[in-house]
């Protein structure tokens, strides 16, 4: 079971949209995962203890856990590349 944190500014609207897409990416690739939705400020608390962090915005802070920008799921541009990146990170 992979643990994935999905964060946005308020932990509400945009992270819900990304969560919706990530859920289907996991399902298509047969990955079992637990998705945790939170605010950007709460990410620190999960850093180092989860398998992947996906943010809806570009974040400059360095995390120990691999971090992917999921904004492509909001704009619809480059969705496939990001989906592939997620799958590769989780399967590595």
């Amino acid at each position: 079971m992979k643990q994935i944190v999905i964060a946005c500014g308020a932990g509400l609207a945009t992270s819900s949209m990304v969560l919706d897409k990530v859920e289907s990416v996991l399902k298509q690739n047969g990955i079992r995962g637990r998705l945790i939705q939170c605010t950007l400020g709460q990410v620190d608390g999960y850093d180092g203890t989860v398998d992947l962090i996906i943010t809806t915005m570009k974040v400059r802070k360095k995390y120990q856990t691999p971090c992917i920008t999921g904004s492509a799921f909001l704009t619809g541009i480059g969705e496939e590349e990001v989906a592939q990146q997620i799958v590769e990170t989780l399967k590595a």
Partner: protein, 471 residues
Amino acid sequence: MEFFETVSGAVQYFVDLGSYIFVPILMCVIGLLFGLKPGRAIKAGATVGIGLVGVSLVATLTADSLGPVINRMVEVLNLNLTAIDVGGSPAAAVGFSSLIGAALIVIIILVNIALVALKLTNTVNVDVYNFWYFAITGGIVQLVTGNFWLGVLAGVTHAVLGLKIADIMAHRTQEIIGIPAISIPHGFAAASAPIFLVLDKVYDLIPFFAHKPIEDDDEELEESKGLSHYVSLIFGERIYLGLILGLFFGVVAGYDFKGVADVTIKTAALLELFPMVVKMLVGGLIPISNQAKSFFTKHFPDRQLSIGLDSAVTIGHPVTISVGFLMVPIFMFVAAVLPGNITLPLGEVPFAAFYVCFATIIHRANRRRTICSSLIFIPIVLWISSWAAPFFTQLADAAGMTLVAEGQLATTMAFGDLFILIPTLLAQVPYVGALLLVALMAVAIALGKLLERFYAKEDERFEETIGTESK
């Protein structure tokens, strides 16, 4: 005549069923209209309804538990803060709990399609959840004028102003935030832009605010561990902030240990539970938003359109984060001393960064400019949200959500929004209200074209001399 009476009677019966009954039905119909399969449309509608039920359940918590203690605290401190900031999430629920809110979802998407087709905008606003801002503008106008269609027009005006700001600042937003092909037509963030755009021009004249290029070896931009780390750990977590505020309310009100403990946990509960139940509402709107997005990409394949997103995507910028934290205590202090303010900051306090995010973009991450603009912006936010308080309290009551105790008003700092205030004032002008709203939209579209060109040139010059950002 008889026909109209029958129709309006039927509409009245439908609305009187209660928001958590008629809104899900409407959302389901809207879903079908946008091409969702029946199963998904029913689920989307029901999810929105469940969110609304959740909000009205949590609302009793504020009304019954927090209302009295806040009354007492304000009395002890001799403050004039009679309007509680309940936060943006219950305001969203109130916005969508009306006929006008549901109507605006369809109408604004149609207007957006028309404007794109006529090449009057390049932004497609698919952030349907944040349409609640437009619904509130429409709701307030309907309330004060008694005219449903004037309310719709005011809501559309708010949305169009947002699209134009998004267009003007699209390039700079993409550069500073680092996401291609986006813009921010968000009902609040975009409305904060005009003030920041004017201030930016003033700062250009003052040497203290001059832009300086960022050197590669600048260490201070990196997150420094230490004090700021702990500040962000506490302020970044809604639960901690809720506990601290609740403790403060209870102690100041002079409650005994049991009373203080009760208020402490319930304030934290309030800050955490509202967003949690509103998440359902968001979930129900996602399918509609996805359908709209695919419509635009399918029908305008050769246009370079910007996808309009929630300002939440801009919150990751380090300047926005640090200035946002700085504003948390300042919001509290200014609210206490500002003449004419009746808003008690509470529900929106954890989201202070949202009040700063567009300043960061417009000022190109120049920290001095962003701080100064935020300080100037705070009183404006508080005044406008105080003005909106009596209207919002009535809208919430009409939606069956009692958010505050008897004699108190409900508001939220998220109403500190010029694009709610200005259309409402214009709509109230007798006879020509509708005309003035249309004129405002026309001016915004015409001026928008000019400003787009102006800022494109300015950005080009800036990127040649200083770079994307300054410090």
